[in-house]
Symmetry: C2
């Protein structure tokens, strides 16, 4: 039986693939595991049936027999552990790939999410304009460290791994900011991820949901 | 040979155990693995020798033979995978414990870190006072979801796990904010974690470093 994931009935990013079902779809496509999708509305996400699956009332969730998971990083790791293709065989290399998963979500993403706060959530506040450069500086500190470590390599540590999958996912949030363009090797890294056939299939699948959704 | 971790030569939290070596020390104490500590100054953290271990110039790092890791979540997971005591044996329960590790770091911690931003990093900015309640609201949304899920259980999913270790670590950042007191079951949960003998040993070890440090 296929696992079932949840995704937005109508994604707030209008099909840019920035919602957190995207890395889960991408991981499933990389390992060749078909999956089913249950779409949830913003209202249904806060109702008891969904909260039983996801205590914070978000997407995605992942159901596979008796196992019910939330948290996209944990779901991607679960998929990577159960199938070949997203983690190296060598024990130390495997541990380092998982390290990059945590680095993507815990070190690189937080300042990038602050950009959403300052531009959108607090975009109408009087401090938005003055805070923006402070937030951008924090992002550049992280991008600089990442860019130096990546150098001219294709991926962060040898072959493409679940660490790259999450890092590319996180960096894609900057696609419209112009910040990524300051680091040509990171721009190329993201483009490299986006041209993988599994990424394209995942992207097209989430875009199809948006395109089919009733007008908001 | 013992693994070697790095920690601040002089912790900016003055020994409250909020620096990220704390969860690594705690995990090592839970599984009974002795470890060595190399202290690093703020200057040394940004120098090539340390950047080779940690591309973002932070602590902790973890060295064990040929394996060099950064990212506290990844280090705790590595310790939990190599030793008994921090992950359940049952495969689904193990996956859920790892899910709670990601939930602590990726869903609960980010708004809590914003509290540091608004109170300390941007504490002198004209918007600090007006932004504070917005940030506190975001924290309460997460604490409410977590509190509902925990209910009257001792730990998040059965026995104490690496998921609880990281969740307690994250919630301790709120100890001085008063926010945790609004959720009695979460306050009790944190206290339950802090009374574990392994937590006490880890806490005392990091406090001893601060107490022995030269005056700043």
């Amino acid at each position: 039986m296929n696992p079932t994931i949840t995704a937005f009935e109508r994604s707030p990013d209008r099909g840019q693939g920035l919602a957190r079902d995207m890395p889960v779809r991408w991981a499933l496509e990389e390992v060749g595991q078909p999956y089913d999708v249950r779409l949830v509305s913003f209202r249904a996400m806060k109702e008891p049936a969904h909260l039983a699956r996801h205590p914070f009332g978000q997407i995605p969730t992942y159901e596979e027999g008796d196992l019910v998971l939330f948290e996209s990083g944990a779901i991607v790791l679960h998929i990577a552990e159960r199938h070949a293709g997203l983690l190296p065989d060598d024990a130390n290399a495997r541990t380092r790939a998982i390290m990059w998963m945590f680095a993507a979500l815990d070190t690189v993403e937080p300042p990038i999410l602050e950009l959403t706060t300052v531009k959108l959530i607090e975009g109408d506040k009087p401090w938005a304009k003055e805070r923006l450069p402070l937030v951008e500086h924090r992002i550049r500190v992280r991008l600089g460290g990442l860019s130096s470590r990546l150098g001219d390599a294709d991926w962060l540590d040898g072959a493409f791994s679940a660490g790259d999958l999450l890092m590319v996912t996180v960096l894609r949030r900057l696609n419209r900011s112009g910040l990524l363009g300051e680091y040509p090797n990171l721009s190329a890294y993201v483009a490299r991820g986006e041209t993988r056939p599994a990424f394209r299939r995942a992207f097209d699948a989430q875009l199809a949901v948006f395109a089919a959704a009733p007008a908001g």
